[in-house]
Symmetry: C2
Amino acid sequence: MSGERTPRRDDGERRFLDAYDPGAYAPAAVTVDVVALTIRAGVPHVLLMRRSARPQLGWWALPGGFVRAQDGPDGPADPDLPDAALRVLSEKTPLPTELHLEQLGTYGALDRDPRMRVISVAYVLLAPDLPDPETDADQAAWIPWSALGHGDGGDRGGRAEIDLAFDHARIVADAVERARSKLEYTALATAFLPPEFTITALREVYEAVWGRPLHGANFHRKILATPGFVEDTGRLAERGGPGGGRRARLYRPGGAAFLHPPLLRGAQSSPAG
Amino acid sequence: MSGERTPRRDDGERRFLDAYDPGAYAPAAVTVDVVALTIRAGVPHVLLMRRSARPQLGWWALPGGFVRAQDGPDGPADPDLPDAALRVLSEKTPLPTELHLEQLGTYGALDRDPRMRVISVAYVLLAPDLPDPETDADQAAWIPWSALGHGDGGDRGGRAEIDLAFDHARIVADAVERARSKLEYTALATAFLPPEFTITALREVYEAVWGRPLHGANFHRKILATPGFVEDTGRLAERGGPGGGRRARLYRPGGAAFLHPPLLRGAQSSPAG
DNA sequence: AAGAGAAAAACTCACTTTGAGAACAACTGG
DNA sequence: CCAGTTGTTCTCAAAGTGAGTTTTTCTCTT
């Protein structure tokens, strides 16, 4: 059992905490930045905002803001970092009901913000096609990855057309790589889709994120052979394709979080020779 | 090209920065905690320290400390977070020349430290068998994972004998899971070994971290078939096993960071039937 | 020096998974 | 009804994996 070598909190502890002065340390500003990813018409996009304040006024940047460490005039403290990420993002764009949020990493280089030492905790949000942000008109927009230099799967030679503020280009690059590799080992691709979807729609998510075509028949076989990835609803899509075609079966996400075995991007290749 | 929609820094920017007051935000304390992992005699260990200050005086905890946001009386500012992690750890134990350091995640729940809002950036450090910390005698020690409830590969039913301070048990659990999954997809196992090693030593790393035996012959075949995992030195180990046995070939880490295809823990199974 | 036992490395074989393409089924639009 | 399109199933060769056996080369003992 526990407890023998691990003392419990006692009166001395309580007295210490009452007398503690939280001002006696070198502080830093802590922010959260959110890399919101979605897929629109088969093309992966990231949500960016034009900075409306200095520094780097007018540059494209990730939505973000300061973590509320304590209760204050702006509102109550953020209970945890994911709460801060969702709060900050919801202040800029409406949030979908279904979403996946995960921590990406924390960036804290001395010179990453010219104002002061800023430690930024970055989050990745995956969501089905979201409405255009209605707040602030063209101050926020969904930008295709390709405009940031992440066009193809290997990021080979892609040059960015848009420069981002601070070190946000690096953060977006890390988020894109995170999404690409997570699709290999987890069932996360369904986070980009509505509650019910076809295998073809699922394949198009993989193709969009990885930036290359997959073999439809093999993909189909693999998905159905992976336990817990998808679950058959028993129903069919309303219509076939616009130019004809069989109606596709509808699936919903299965319970599995991880894929065993994984769906490797290095292995599966294009149908075109 | 860039620049058309992205204004460059101008005089207004410079004037803004000169007038900026860094005190006008709600601060939080930022710390780094390091989960140092190594393998001693086939058993994975983590470096823990007994807290010598309140709160939770006397409890086992991860080595850590405050990030130096700016230059101050204690020393110069940490240029980046990894620098802070290495500085903090080197203050408590000698560092090896070869090591792997990667960010694990950031923990910032409101109540994780009773003193104040503390945002902690956790790092994982993998290193070959390190000497015992000589500073402070029994204030720091290498503790086997099993004492923390991470004995077997699946963490099924393992109960911790040692409770950790704050949320450090959770951080260690995340680090252990990170190490276990990284061994599947990367060549990181060599970070636990000296510059030259045998395939058997490499297999023992996997067995220690995953907590289960692997099939030696298949492991051998798989390692040699994975391009860039290891590189033959052409030399042999000094001696065979203590009770006889062929001398093993010596390898060094290959250039590859990722394994294609991966070495899955779910797939490979024990030789005993 | 010879032989028993031990460890590393190579080999065998059945089974599974994968890549590539062909075939079949079910639909749309004319 | 027909041509074209899309979803689904099937086939087959190649590659990879799990399990066990065999061969090689050591150490230790007698």
